[in-house]
Subunit: 719 residues, 2 copies
């Protein structure tokens, strides 16, 4: 090898921080209360947040407590070398890191390396996932977002610098049993393969408040239409309009909830690639089909992927606005071009939305690499393939979402790819991975990164798995049976039909609770389905179990860390602990405070790990002491505007409590202009009597779709 | 989203080729006969080949047939946009692609996407592997090498351009059963994340000649010392010098072959990170220990990883020459700096080589990401972490190899990472993955990319697996039992001790054949262990089996392609078809011409797939019609310089044949200065009599370590 050039040859725009002083030149600006922004180098033309186009919810942000910059600035380092940006943030001992994409197997990401890359999930938490959001939330109550539409590599407490002030303990693997293959690291390091990035730091002081700030900055969480929280069935691919109407009648006959129905690829005259045009054989009269559905109270959701078939009428318009490579013979619209969006809008508005289509399922915008455009693709706007990949899911969501908004009609659909800035999108993420347990972990993780996820049900090899999966999906953002390939129905396993119907009914009964929980997501930024780590009083400390040495299976004796990844909160009060097929008992980790069985009101424990042995017909649910659960009687569909429902409010435990019940018309965006009500439901405690009074304040605003006489049920009194 | 800038914003240095003309500005230079080079943009300071420092074997290259530029230049495209290089090469229908790194599960890479990245193998052929060589060999008889020390993404016939002249057939997934999730692609596309690269195109006309040119350009294959082809045992980590001497005596007592012994981390006074200094407790007198081994004819191979412990005497010298991050608390020498190499050389020469150490096992230079330096690391030479990762394995091989060469002493060791340009390196790759079947596929694939691979044996759950693994490893570049963790011995399963001893003895008997085969590697560039696809007359055409649709397991009905990946050639004549535990029979695909059982000489078939049911005590071996196999009697060790052995030459089948027997002193580099012999062994055919005569030409040159009277055995005569 030749004598290398000893001159560094580096373009060090900014130098590492020395000593305990902040790196000079890093000027953090507080852009919102408790949110600081720093732009370094030359950020790219399109970032994740610019593609997401969110409008911050300034009112919600203003209501969060003031907080100081939450990190030690001396521990933050930024440098740009050879068109790459190197970032470093400090870590304390015992600190846990959450987020960093929609992970399926792990919750605490500390100690992991992630290459954040929009992709289908391939079975490993390595950063390739449907929503590789470059945002992490620390257990110490702050968050960091790297807003760059690039394949970022994040070293989440793995990289160890020679100049660290907290070096790991030196030990000899020959003789020291405590030798670890993963020495202690005191930093998160990020490689951005671009000569600039925008960074946001979020204050807390709690992890929940960090997430709230993140979601509120991105517009606040999306508030689905009420029907979106009902049950949905997706029908087999080649179902005709008659087949689908019969399917709807089948749900009526079984008295099974159904609010919207998923119409799979067969509605296109050609699919993979797509025409976005109704197939005349299977759907001879789309308008009357959609009208018939509407008369039965059912909304239609149309499947698509955005790759335009040469046989589509859109093709000539999109051809000059498409990328250099095809996907399944379809051209790839460059949605950074307004003309491409406009062409889609014209067609979709005319052919779908104005006929009554309620939403879309946008498939195949994630990957995997073998499907979508390669990284060598080019696009007419000049945007490179990599940022196009990182933002395509965001762009199809903003684009389609804006059409419904223009009609003042809320939608709620499905998408396979998302990224940072998605909190306010009317979409739920799904995939084909189909591991029930890992689906629940994804639901847990979705709460850190401003996305929604559904553990959809397709088929199951047994009645037990069927009912367990149906129970979980009814406690998720979208209660969906996706029968595109199998034609399964909720009653496919007659031996558990009753239990399945019960849990679907229970979801319908919980609509007031669930809808208010989504309102919290929107107005306060609190995710509706929450990791336990976002719950105050959740005292679980991750324990690391020393790895068992195995010469071939684990030659480095890598340690295993325990995570709580199979239970979560739905809203403020309801703890959900799904059961998985083959398991007759499970452990549940209860946060501080007393917890009660949802079904019986009985005390089950407090601040401890309990073991439960639930029956097959119930999903384990627990309510916090003082928790209030507003419910309605079982019903097949979410209420339509103007409907007034009787309200039952259950109270659990012995403490007083309150619940902020939200309502609006359930379908339009009028709530953004003040047409909504918040109603305070309260249980108060008299000093001499455990639970004497209860009250309901007059609703602030309207509409308010509940009858004034509330039925109060004290679930734990007298037990 | 804001109105995007419609101006392309691209720096198109070179434009795509249009029509059927070659892209202007691409000036290919024939740098060696049948090898063309093209440099585009600004290649990086350090490339794979520059790190490998190979000297082309011009004499060997000159002996290959002249050939024209093997590709349609109009199908080659190069462009550089935003610091990235986009490459495209044409593909014909039915063309197969081999190589693209040390893959473990697939042979034909067409239809796959690989991100070539030095890493431990993680169970998927995705480009992350120990030798991610960016070189492919086409079944049409040409090769392409991208010489860039970057993480390259290769789309090996997956990307489909809108402007392709060979578009895939458009079909509707709704109704067309022939719809494929992977449409036809007529190109290999490569993304180089740097603003330049050097490209080599290799002519054939056969795939074998492509590989020969590649290997010869990189110095020709390495010729191991004779002892390197004997058996090697690696001892448990904490074995002392006494333990190791007892181990050697154990091999003597069992009359089991042993030529070199692997000394594991315990020889260091500290390991992970390493001191490279003998532990005074376990190795109180290294010199006498090594001398004792030498007296027993055994060479010592020392394990190491290159990360320097703060307790090492080398540490102060290396500290200013090391990277920004530590690996297991060890500093990472920047081996692009001559001072770092010099410091290592001084220590290693004095402390190891001059005491008699015969070689090294260089561990942990591959990854995985959690172990080695992160991509955010910086190095004092200014080389980025990414090219450092891609070349580190190459650099440790050239560096250590040069020390032995300076002493005129051949070495033969183990390394965990390599890359392009490695043909002449004295190292065999290994890993921890331990799948017997996949190990054999790696052996097959090693032949395309100029590296050696050993399917090492560690432990086994059964005697059957044990003997099957031992059989395979005896038909590989290094016959190794790696008992660092288990302390297993070849006779660990007494019920198969005889079969294991027999196969080890057979390897020793085959040394003349094997050594001559390695000489072919060196002088002609033919890999010693060869994929069937490199064999003339191998008529296998890959068949693609339509995927079975499964809503959850295979929702896109991906097809499966059959590869021949579990059999290979050792040299010109011997076909090896290893058996795997649990399998009582297997299929073997025989190339054109008649094939004979090695053990019995019986005809087994020709140009067909046969099914065999071999016994447990034999590894299936087949010899080509006219094949000659020179052998010696069973022996425990390879011959030392000056030894003269009796020679038996076996002939198989009914055709005449010949074999070029190579010999030299077996230990030094004197053969490079002419001190070697080639002897032509021939069986000739009289027109009236099937196999009448045989002859042995006088050896050209010397030494020649065989007695003049050859024993000829006609294995198939009279059958």
């Amino acid at each position: 090898m030749k004598q290398p050039n000893r001159i560094l040859g580096l373009l060090c725009l900014l130098l590492f921080a020395g000593g305990s002083k902040a790196q000079p030149g890093l000027n953090w600006t507080e852009v919102h209360p408790g949110i600081w922004k720093l732009t370094v180098g030359k950020p790219q033309r399109i970032s994740l947040l610019s593609a997401a186009e969110a409008t911050p919810n300034r009112r919600g942000l203003a209501e969060l407590p003031k907080t100081a910059f939450p990190l030690d600035k001396a521990g933050i380092s930024v440098k740009i070398v050879n068109q790459k940006t190197y970032l470093r943030f400090p870590l304390e001992r015992e600190e846990q890191l959450f987020g960093l994409g929609l992970n399926f197997q792990t919750v605490n990401q500390r100690g992991r390396i992630l290459n954040l890359h929009v992709d289908h999930y391939g079975g490993k938490d390595n950063g390739r996932t449907h929503a590789p959001v470059p945002f992490y939330v620390s257990s110490r109550g702050y968050g960091v977002l790297i807003d760059a539409a690039r394949y970022l590599t994040v070293y989440a407490g793995t990289a160890v610098r020679t100049d660290t002030r907290n070096p790991p303990v030196l030990s000899d693997r020959n003789t020291d049993k405590k030798w670890s293959s993963q020495p202690y690291s005191d930093a998160v390091e990020v490689l951005v393969p671009a000569d600039g990035a925008t960074i946001y730091v979020f204050g807390g002081p709690t992890p929940m408040q960090v997430v709230q700030r993140y979601n509120l900055m991105n517009g606040g969480g999306y508030l689905p239409p009420k029907w979106g929280l009902g049950f949905t069935q997706r029908v087999p691919t080649l179902y005709s309009q008659t087949d689908i109407l019969n399917e709807v009648k089948g749900f009526e006959a079984h008295n099974f909830p159904l609010d919207f129905i998923g119409v799979e690829p067969g509605w296109h005259s050609m699919a993979y690639p797509c025409t976005f045009e109704w197939d005349k054989t299977r759907f001879p009269n789309p308008k009357s089909f959609l009208d018939s559905l509407a008369r039965r109270g059912v909304s239609a959701n149309l499947w698509l992927n955005p790759y335009v078939s040469p046989t589509a009428s859109l093709y000539p318009k999109i051809k000059p606005l498409a990328g250099s490579h095809t996907v399944w013979n379809g051209i790839v619209p460059d949605f950074t071009l307004p003309q491409a969006r406009q062409a889609f809008k014209g067609h979709f508005m005319q052919q779908h939305l104005k006929l009554g289509v309620g939403g879309y399922k946008i498939d195949e915008v994630d990957g995997y690499d073998n499907w979508v455009w390669p990284d060598v693709a080019t696009f007419p706007s000049g945007l490179e393939a990599e940022p196009m990949r990182q933002t395509y899911g965001l762009m199809v969501q903003t684009m389609t979402g804006s059409w419904f908004r223009e009609l003042n009609k809320r939608t709620y659909g499905l998408v396979r790819a998302s990224n940072a800035g998605a909190s306010n999108f009317p979409y739920v993420i799904y995939n084909d991975y189909y591991s029930h347990k890992d689906f629940i972990t994804a639901l847990v993780n979705s709460s850190f990164i401003g996305v929604l996820w559904t553990p959809e049900v397709r088929a199951s090899p047994s009645a037990e798995e069927w009912v367990r999966r149906m129970q979980s999906v009814c406690f998720s953002p979208m209660a969906m049976l996706n029968a595109w390939a199998d034609g399964t129905k909720p009653w496919t396993f007659p031996e558990v039909e009753k239990a399945v119907t019960e849990v679907a009914n229970l979801r319908m009964q919980l609509l007031p609770y669930l809808y208010s929980t989504f309102a919290q997501y929107h107005f306060e930024g609190k995710p509706p389905f929450r990791a336990m780590n976002l719950v105050e009083g959740f005292g679980f400390k991750p324990t690391t179990v020393a790895g068992t040495f195995d010469a071939t299976a684990n030659p480095y004796a890598m340690s295993i860390r325990k995570d709580i990844k199979d239970q979560y909160m739905m809203g403020d009060y309801l703890l959900v602990a799904p059961m998985f097929t083959g398991e007759k008992s499970r452990k549940v980790y209860l946060p501080a405070g007393k917890w009660y069985d949802f079904y019986t009101g009985k005390l089950v424990g407090e601040n401890e790990e309990i073991t439960i042995n639930p029956s097959l017909d119930k999903i384990p649910l627990f309510v916090k002491d003082g928790g209030l659960i507003p419910m309605v009687p079982p019903r097949r569909q979410a209420p339509k505007p103007g409907e007034v429902l009787p309200l039952e409010v259950r109270h659990y435990g012995t403490l007083p409590g309150s619940f902020l019940l939200y309502d609006d018309d359930g379908v339009s965006f009028d709530y953004e202009r003040g047409a909504y009500s918040f109603t305070r439901l309260s249980v108060i405690k008299d000093p001499n009597d455990p639970l004497k009074g209860q009250e309901i304040t007059v609703p602030k605003g309207k509409p308010f779709g509940y009858s004034a006489s509330v039925k109060w049920t004290f679930m734990s009194v007298g037990q």
